[in-house]
Symmetry: C2
Subunit: 386 residues, 2 copies
């Protein structure tokens, strides 16, 4: 397969966009990415979205968004892996260009969650869990994560406040990101007095929903060799792995097997180890997920994710900066769009455009997007070359 | 890209499967395809499905079905292109193997339509049309097709009964297919006295819904060179194209531009012309769509699709056999599964296993799957080599 590079990125602020439809949100991110890439069009469109069929009563987002965005007649496809849909779309676009089937493609993640006609978002999010064996028994998505977090605290002896640094770091970084849903820092006091949602997960452990869209243009890397003086952002690792959809079916409920597998495959492809990663946009839908991802991907020993955070090693100046533009917690988590925000933010860091939270000398960045409670995990490693 | 072959196929009868869940339907088709391929497992799973998120309250069909089918930990993805989802999944699996990213993959199309909790199927099907500009104004999917058919009859002077041969051929062929929803032939009288749904579309112009699943295993073709005496079924053409999602936005409402584009790309890849195609599994969701597909793909002059049918040229012994195992009309149309039934049936023909409706000496077969009212169209050409 040929090498592929990210030529352009685009995003909209995550917010309650009552004045914009789903396709308008997606279109803005697409136009912005095409403009950033100085391209008028691309050959294929890959849309990551989780819930438009039920929440917005619109399927066919491939054709619908291609039509709206001036890509009519192009190949266009909608891919879904729950909250991992964004990265899954990026991986599909990557494979189309890497294989030589297409010479350019755009991946867009989009979700419209705040004015869905006649549906309730907690119930929509639950479709990422097992309908027969989890949801039917009354488990919501946050409840599933609360069970995992409680077990993790029991196994490793952490208290609830040990998870505060994840949230504090995310909000501190989000304050510098004009596209973030929440742009104000929080204190330890804000964390500890936040309302409980599903014990031990409180409001400051949980990411916020919203309407959002983010996009990236992919082209063969060889095309860019001639462009003088530009950093070429190559996709050097890409992989996906699954686990049981039900958490109770796992041999080990506090270990993300699919994250470990997916990260190892990506490291091998890129020829790097965790020590080479300059920043990591991980999937902090809940603070417990941030801890588990850091461990599964080799940045912390098992059970030691909160220690890494407590030691300030996850900030932009730390050993492994995470959530550098706010993460799911503060930038926001418009589920099917999130994976594409992660990619866009890694590219910003590798270009040196992460104003206020720039990781000095960042050259290799990683993103990891999780669908369900760890059941479908997509990892990407990007590298800047001069 | 490397050449890819279909090593195994599997399907379940399209029916009202009140005793089987969505994942059980998919699992049966997958197990059957793996057994046919003499493989215990594959590296990746691509699931085509349209409406499980709303109709079955289960998203994440990649992880869910991988888990259920013994493919846990594999890469697994759900792709959606409305009624074109099945072929879109096949194309995604094809690209994964053709690119070298995976050495084996399975594509499964699955839909569970007959016992969806709290949702109404006509309303689910409407999510394939434009939510803002078609559905909001009261157009159902059959109504959209009725408008196209009425215009077509006006433009080309056909009467309603001229569409009868499409339905009669489909039911005559379906009578020989043990997996078909309807296995009884119909007469011209049955057609003319069928109840009207949305004039001029009556019950015999419209395909039947149902629960169904069909699957195919893809491997690199070079793997099969050593297997003596087996026909190798290669995928020699694959392409996708889109059109406006709203029918009223098209310059020409009675011409399937995306079908023409997609077919031409596939012909070019395969190095063939319409004259070389021995059978064509087309998307006869409504009889008007059969006529429009035949024209857009170069088998009939514009406006002359019904003449081809009236001249008996679409039967297994005709110039271009269509719906050879019953088509959407009689085999049935479990929307997201349909594209995979088409692929499975083309493979049956090329293997010489289409008992009762075998096209003599069939060597090159084509399938075309349509999402929406012609808005997302995926075409495949398969060839049998000895």
């Amino acid at each position: 397969m040929r090498e592929v590079a990210v030529l352009g990125i685009g995003q909209i602020r995550i917010d309650e966009h009552w004045d914009k439809s789903l396709k308008e949100c997606a279109g803005e991110a697409i136009f912005s990415a095409l403009q950033d890439a100085s391209l008028a069009s691309v050959e294929g469109l890959y849309v990551g979205n989780m819930m438009s069929g039920s929440a917005n009563r619109q399927q066919q987002l491939g054709a619908s968004i291609a039509d709206w965005s001036g890509l009519r007649f192009s190949e266009a496809l909608h891919v879904e892996a729950a909250c991992g849909s964004g990265s899954a779309a990026f991986r599909s676009a990557l494979m189309a260009v890497a294989s030589g089937e297409l010479d350019s493609a755009i991946a867009v993640g989009v979700e419209k969650m705040t004015d869905s006609p006649g549906s309730e978002i907690t119930s929509e999010l639950a479709t990422a869990a097992d309908a027969d064996w989890e949801v039917d028994h009354g488990l919501s998505f946050v409840a599933l994560n609360a069970l995992i977090m409680r077990r993790y605290m029991h196994e490793h002896g952490w208290k609830k406040e040990h998870f505060a640094p994840f949230s504090i770091n995310a909000h501190a970084n989000g304050a510098h990101n004009p596209f973030a849903r929440f742009q104000e820092p929080i204190t330890l006091a804000d964390y500890t007095r936040a309302g409980m949602i599903a014990e031990p997960i409180n409001l400051m452990d949980a990411s916020g929903i919203g309407d959002g869209a983010a996009a990236a243009v992919l082209v063969p890397a060889e095309l860019l060799r001639s462009r003088q003086g530009t950093r070429v952002i190559r996709v050097v690792g890409s992989s996906a792995a699954t686990d049981t959809i039900s958490v109770h079916n796992r041999r080990d409920g506090t270990w993300l097997t699919a994250a470990e597998r997916s990260a190892k495959l990506a490291y091998a492809q890129a020829g790097v180890s965790p020590a080479d990663i300059d920043l990591f946009e991980l999937h902090d839908a809940f603070s417990i997920m941030a801890a588990l991802s850091l461990e599964a991907c080799g940045f912390a020993e098992r059970g030691q994710g909160p220690r890494l955070a407590g030691d300030d090693q996850i900030r932009p100046t730390g050993r492994i900066p995470i959530a550098t533009r706010g993460g799911l917690k503060a930038r926001g988590h418009p589920v099917g769009a999130t994976g594409m925000y992660q990619i866009v933010e890694v590219v910003q860091q590798l270009r040196g455009q992460a104003t206020g939270t720039q990781v000095e000398g960042a050259r290799i960045g990683m993103s990891q997007n999780i669908g369900g409670s760890g059941s479908n995990i997509v990892t990407h490693i990007l590298r800047a070359d001069y």
